[in-house]
Symmetry: C3
Subunit: 115 residues, 3 copies
Amino acid sequence: MITRIETGPRMSQAVLHGETVYVAGQVARDASADVAGQTRQVLEAIDRLLLRAGTDKTRILSATVYLADIATFAEMNAVWEAWVAKGQAPARATVEARLALPAYKVEIVIIAALP
Amino acid sequence: MITRIETGPRMSQAVLHGETVYVAGQVARDASADVAGQTRQVLEAIDRLLLRAGTDKTRILSATVYLADIATFAEMNAVWEAWVAKGQAPARATVEARLALPAYKVEIVIIAALP
Amino acid sequence: MITRIETGPRMSQAVLHGETVYVAGQVARDASADVAGQTRQVLEAIDRLLLRAGTDKTRILSATVYLADIATFAEMNAVWEAWVAKGQAPARATVEARLALPAYKVEIVIIAALP
């Protein structure tokens, strides 16, 4: 009834339950990128995890976007809006928060529906 | 199976799935108001979206409250507690975070049940 | 269909709906403790609420960890990893945020499955 993807001692990268999947906060693999580049990496990581969960970005229910610097809101949004499935945007909240490493500029948490 | 309310290129204001609705982070329409006034506006926006989703504040499961200044905790709470349905308060977390515009003092994210 | 645990005028400590329980953000009872001590108290509070909800830490779906100082990430994680059920770690996000009282060093929000 609960299925976990890429489970470690600290967290799982995604957890499936019923018709819902909870994706862990995703950050950039290469934290030297700027906020646009990091957002692209984060969204690629989300695509990959949604695929492993058997769903995709057309079924995202909710997104929480944490920006290390809220002044980068527009740069993040440009990448976000190019990525979102047309007509299928999730509910979203975006706030400023320092992230686990000082180099991280953006972290995104997703809840999605399973087909 | 997924129904979206007020969908744009960036986000939907609410997304319904199964018996749950995810409401996007709501902020004040008039950001010149103080934290009490902004909280009132945010809760009105939430009432409106819950109504459109076919539910209401008696069925809120979870709330996340972001305050631009945690020192306004008491002012926000006074408005919040006057609004919450008696005996039907949701699980809640409140933390400080800078919001999308410097004038925003409070943003609230809701997950609610559908009847 | 909705069951609330320890409901007050502001919030409920946990809200059950369908096969999911939403636990309110938990903070330390004794805020004079360091971040490791506060994390231990928070996890005990979560264990207690999950038990009252009829579930336990083997069924946590999602965790959001707020640290007042992200520099305490490692201390929090040491306590967290000792507590997490092996092979059953939830999806998780950790960000920095000031909390309701200046003395609070960590707050954790949990969504869990009911058996």
